[in-house]
Subunit: 252 residues, 4 copies
């Protein structure tokens, strides 16, 4: 990428995340905020302003239209909107097939700490006899376990399977229903919902005589901005469709 | 109680806890270990040796016989054996009715830290919107939740009810079975089972903007000895049947 | 106190805490917000409006003048402003001497969780061989340890002394300067300063084989409002000068 | 390495770690315990028994002699004894220079969880504004901070420097001596010493709105055995001098 300033447009600029993103882009010396449109506004103001990258925090109902627009206009896209499933991902790859230099990055969780926590849990999994997940959120959350916890559990289960580990040990024979949590691919996950909590996750791995705990605490959506900026700066170097921040961190 | 040394007998002296108890009594300047019998040995060696207090760590099948013996012989008893339910307690009270100066103390958990943790959780409960319990034990434990967690949950629920608090808030509408734990009197309890753990319990209380966490970690049965010694030294001053260490701590 | 609504005035109503307080009073059914003045405005609007209780979150330079005004006008006062030392407390007691029914409550920390944590730490102290404090705050805090940690350490040290406990055990002979923290009345206190933290304190008490941890996490100043409302509702029943929320909690 | 059983000798076999090691080797199907000698016994029984790998848990005063013996006899060595500094390492490399297939592995900490924790802390360091370390040990430990904490702090400091990060932020202007801990290469380290603790370390990394915590708890020396067995099985594939377990874990 050149040393020149990167021209950035934001879609959904007046939502909670969008507001935070416009401020973060505005404050970055190497980024230039050239357009900020609401979720249902005229998208061509993005291309008219010469956006090189657009950031989308809108709604699952409209996000595909936005990505299609960006691809058509040869603008890279960073997508924080949820709802991009396997089928939609296939559609996006189809659009990108004829645009070899163009990148779309879809990110379920922009908190770099959360990305690292999930990665470390996965890497550590094969060295321990067992692992469980405790995730703690505010009492207003409707789903349990959290999406992040489910993804983390799957990562751990996959790493254990790849290493040939057996099922986690569990001698429980008398259980009050639910005490041992939900099982996600064989990994026990416990969801605490409590006023005063924000978003927290703890992976505990254990073997005879030792435990390793990897905990991420997210207290404010400002914690997502370093990840958003990283994705904006990296998208041009990652043509095609990329899922998640991990490959952008340069850890491998 | 006089300044003289207290004469102590131990029943179940060759079990894991009994061994630890005989050593602890032996090491205490104000206590004299005068008899140490196995779980099925001749009990009269306890009275022949002039025991003033007997400590019992044996088995639910024989503990009532031991307590009956102690009461008959006018010896105070400290009981760490499990299995003393309401009916048995009533029986013991009957035996003690005609022995006004005699004391029997039945203790489910001798770890003073665990007793304090349960008490503090109960005291704090009415000041917070909600509370949940996470207990973590080694993977060989057969029951979930632990008995201590169930007792703690009941204490919290009782304190909330006495203060007129409503049910704990919970917006969960999409739950993978078990994710939100077991409910004990309306309090959510989560049981983690992991190699490397010993016996740990965490009560988390939350209100808008703050949480209070009370955690007890028990790593070794040596942690029970201060509670055993306290019960031995206190039993003569607590005639009748006493449940648990809390009243002996002088906190009220 | 009667069943009628209590008339409340706020001084410093446009500061961060004052704004939060006016909203909390406004939202409470049993309280009536009758006056809200800035830190340097005409105080008589408080008495003209018939305030029965005033709440002060202003500045150490002006707080004594505000308390003097309240006492003169026979208005109870709840004071969250810092800077009330022993000398000032003596002055306030002098003012109150001739007003036997009037109450002034000075509160260093309105978070009920923090008050409970300090109390529990003090109560538990005599049952453990040792205790240390770890407090964690955002990187912008200028003092270390925090005032709350110092007060907690003194409470623990006092409880240990009253119980006749010796100095805490410490075998350290090779120490990089500062590793073992600051000592406050013989209790080691460690201050962590980190972006992403808000205000957290952990007291860890330990004896052979067990530890008891009491942790308070304060994430938002909304956590202070239950304590402010409690003080407003209680002040008329606590004539004279009261320090801290603990006596208002009804724990003894 | 062939599928045949590996012949292992243990030096210092009657010490606490040596005893544990002999049992662990004995219990492993792919290892054959062929010799177990005390720290000051006849070393040639190791070679007479056909040891292919020797494990040394003895004393800094004699460990170099043992390594020299192993190299002379063309036996691979796994060394858990402390005291191998840079100068000694140079000496060992000299001995190995003429033995291209021979391996010596010197391991400061055999707990795989501790190795992973240090690695993850180092990897995460460049993504966070700051990091601090809290290590907690039993009250009998003489040095503060622990050697593991010092090594972890250096790893974090190195990673921060390599990424061009500035010094960690710290606004402290009023500090009770020691409150902010010891500084190791600019990283603050806090050492808690408490009865009831064994060996624990927590690295906390923070940025605006989030923290990542990596904690290792070591409760028993059984936690070292998986690392010891890994080193025994790997040493023949790592000719020359290797420091620590990390390269053996296959994480890169």
């Amino acid at each position: 990428m050149s040393d020149e300033v990167l021209r950035v447009g934001v879609i959904g600029a007046r939502g909670r995340m969008g507001t935070e993103v416009t401020q973060a882009v505005d404050a970055a010396d190497d980024l230039d905020l050239v357009a900020a449109v609401g979720g249902r506004e005229w998208l061509f103001s993005l291309s008219d302003a010469g956006s090189q990258v657009v950031v989308d925090f809108t709604h699952p109902d409209v996000v595909m239209e936005h990505i299609r627009f960006a691809v058509d206009q040869n603008i890279h896209a960073v997508v924080g909107t949820s709802g991009i499933d396997d089928e939609r991902a296939e559609t996006i790859r189809g659009w990108l097939a004829s645009k070899p230099g163009l990148g779309v990055i879809v990110v379920p969780n922009f908190a770099i700490g959360a990305v690292l926590a999930a990665r470390f849990a996965r890497e550590a999994a094969r060295f321990f006899e067992s692992a469980e997940i405790i995730e703690l959120h505010h009492a207003g959350k409707v789903d349990a376990p959290s999406g992040t916890a489910i993804a983390t559990a799957r990562g751990i289960a996959g790493a254990r399977a790849a290493a040939g580990l057996a099922a986690v040990p569990d001698a429980t024979t008398m259980e009050a229903a639910g005490a041992r949590g939900a099982q996600v691919d064989g990994i026990h996950v416990h969801s605490v919902r409590l006023p005063g909590m924000v978003a927290h996750q703890e992976v505990v791995l254990g073997s005879s005589g030792e435990t390793l705990t990897i905990r991420h605490d997210s207290l404010h959506r400002s914690s997502f901005m370093p990840g958003v900026l990283l994705a904006i700066r990296s998208v041009a170097d990652h043509p095609g469709l990329t899922f998640g921040l991990e490959q952008l961190l340069g850890l491998d």
